[in-house]
């Protein structure tokens, strides 16, 4: 039972078909499975439904699949930084379903955990709840949301052993762990490939059971979307920030 494939194209062989649903990990450009996205682009598969928190930026990440019009529909929470996305969306070439970020994360987690539906406060009384069941529990209103399960998930991890046990690094974890659980087949790209036993079993974020195939992608330069720094002379400026408005 070999999970490690020599390259992204080999790892995706036989898994791609037009009209399929693909989950892609990452938040912005952080923790995105970019080598696997490249291979999907090269495959020419089209009419895809892509579930991913964001849509990349022009020419980077999922932006690459938008450029080639391989995506028919996105399920995302925020797509702010992509001009090609806006063009296709406004032109009616691309459908988008916006989910609140936490609802999206929970829908994916539910799909992977055999939960077909759950209730959440998020979005009650807003466009998000339109057409969905709203129910009261203990005097508060909640909207019912459905689990999400894809044909294929592609994820990026920092380290992985050949059994498929994965460790993510810092905020590059984001959507990757849930997506790994919520697809017929999950393909992982790992920056560091090690042997079983080299990762402390208490530190594993994604157990190997969820990983069907994997590739080793030795470090290449990662893109930064918003490079914010402080000057050494200045007093420390704080750096809080939120995705909402």
């Amino acid at each position: 039972m070999k999970k490690v494939y020599p390259d992204p194209t080999a790892a995706l062989a036989g898994l791609l078909r037009d009209g399929m649903t693909i989950m892609a990990g990452g938040f912005g450009l952080c923790g995105i499975p970019d080598e696997l996205i490249d291979a999907i682009r090269a495959s020419g598969v089209k009419g895809l439904t892509v579930i991913s928190n964001n849509a990349g930026i022009d020419g980077v990440g999922l932006g690459k699949l938008l450029d080639t019009r391989q995506v028919a529909r996105m399920i995302s929470s925020y797509v702010g930084e992509n001009k090609e996305f806006a063009r296709q969306y406004l032109g009616g070439e691309l459908e988008i379903e916006f989910n609140p970020q936490g609802t999206l994360a929970e829908r994916i987690r539910a799909g992977g955990a055999g939960i077909p539906a759950f209730f959440t406060k998020t979005g009650v009384g807003t466009k998000v709840a339109e057409g969905k069941e709203v129910r009261e529990f203990d005097g508060e209103s909640y909207v019912m949301e459905r689990g999400l399960f894809a044909d294929l998930a592609i994820v990026h991890a920092w380290k992985g052993d050949t059994e498929g046990n994965l460790v993510y690094r810092k905020t590059a974890r984001n959507f990757n762990p849930m997506m790994a659980t919520a697809a017929e087949v999950t393909v992982a790209q790992v920056e560091h490939l090690v042997q079983p036993g080299e990762i402390d079993a208490d530190h594993i974020h994604t157990p190997g059971i969820f990983i069907g195939r994997m590739i080793h992608v030795p470090a290449r330069e990662k893109r930064i979307e918003q490079r914010t720094v402080r000057q050494r002379k200045q007093p420390e400026a704080a750096a809080a920030g939120g995705g909402q408005i």
Partner: protein, 219 residues
């Protein structure tokens, strides 16, 4: 004299308490972290999967794997923990975050909030805003009191009811504008109350620039 952005942030910082876990939106809310009182322990949450957010990195020390929800490079602290988006929003939805400070396009007198889309304009998505306002214990909006049009016109943002699509219903506890501070009894029938005036601002000026009904209870 209306409050500056920095003064609004400073006022918002007075809502912080020792031991608080706080989520700050982008814009003025981000500035609040500059006003955390010395010796007060406040941990900042970033909804993309981090608790204990530090300052921006020094130039050359940016880490592409370490960003905040605004996708800006940041740093960690000794208290930092990382987790998945599902765990992050479990934390938010489950009511474990004490305070969320965020911007808004419109707030209604019952606490309704609109800050994610303008019909007819390109919609970018709500990101984590709907989850934050629904889940966080206390929601403080920091915004300009009125929206200024390109033609110099001014439209009130504190309304009887929002006309923009909502981010959440009855979710706002407090609104800090450049003109003053309002509390909102979002769970009850108490409505909106003006509790502070910015230096040199009069009740009349606020009344003229506010559509929503409010009581007055200045300290």
């Amino acid at each position: 004299m209306a409050w500056t952005r920095e003064q609004m942030a400073e006022r918002a910082a007075r809502e912080l308490e020792d031991g608080f876990y706080v989520n700050l939106g982008i814009g003025i809310p981000t500035l609040v972290s500059n006003y955390i009182p010395e010796g007060m322990s406040v941990q900042l949450q970033s909804e993309n999967g981090m608790l204990g957010m530090g300052p921006f990195p020094y130039e050359g020390e940016e880490d592409p794997d370490l960003i905040n929800a605004g996708k800006q490079t940041i740093t960690a602290l000794p208290t930092t923990s990382y987790f998945s988006s599902a765990d992050s929003f479990g934390m938010i939805r489950g009511g474990h975050i004490d305070l969320s400070i965020l911007g808004a396009m419109q707030v209604a007198q019952n606490g309704d909030l609109a800050n994610w889309m303008i019909p007819g304009k390109m919609v970018k998505g709500m990101g984590g805003a709907m989850d934050l306002v629904a889940g966080v214990k206390k929601v403080v909006v920091v915004m300009e009191h009125v929206a200024k049009g390109k033609d110099g016109s001014e439209a009130p943002k504190l309304l009887k009811s929002c006309d923009l699509p909502l981010t959440g219903t009855a979710v706002v506890d407090m609104v800090i504008t450049d003109l003053g501070v309002f509390t909102i009894d979002k769970k009850g029938e108490g409505g909106m109350t003006l509790v502070e005036l910015a230096d040199g601002v009069t009740e009349d000026e606020i009344r003229a620039k506010t559509e929503g009904a409010f009581k007055v209870a200045l300290a």
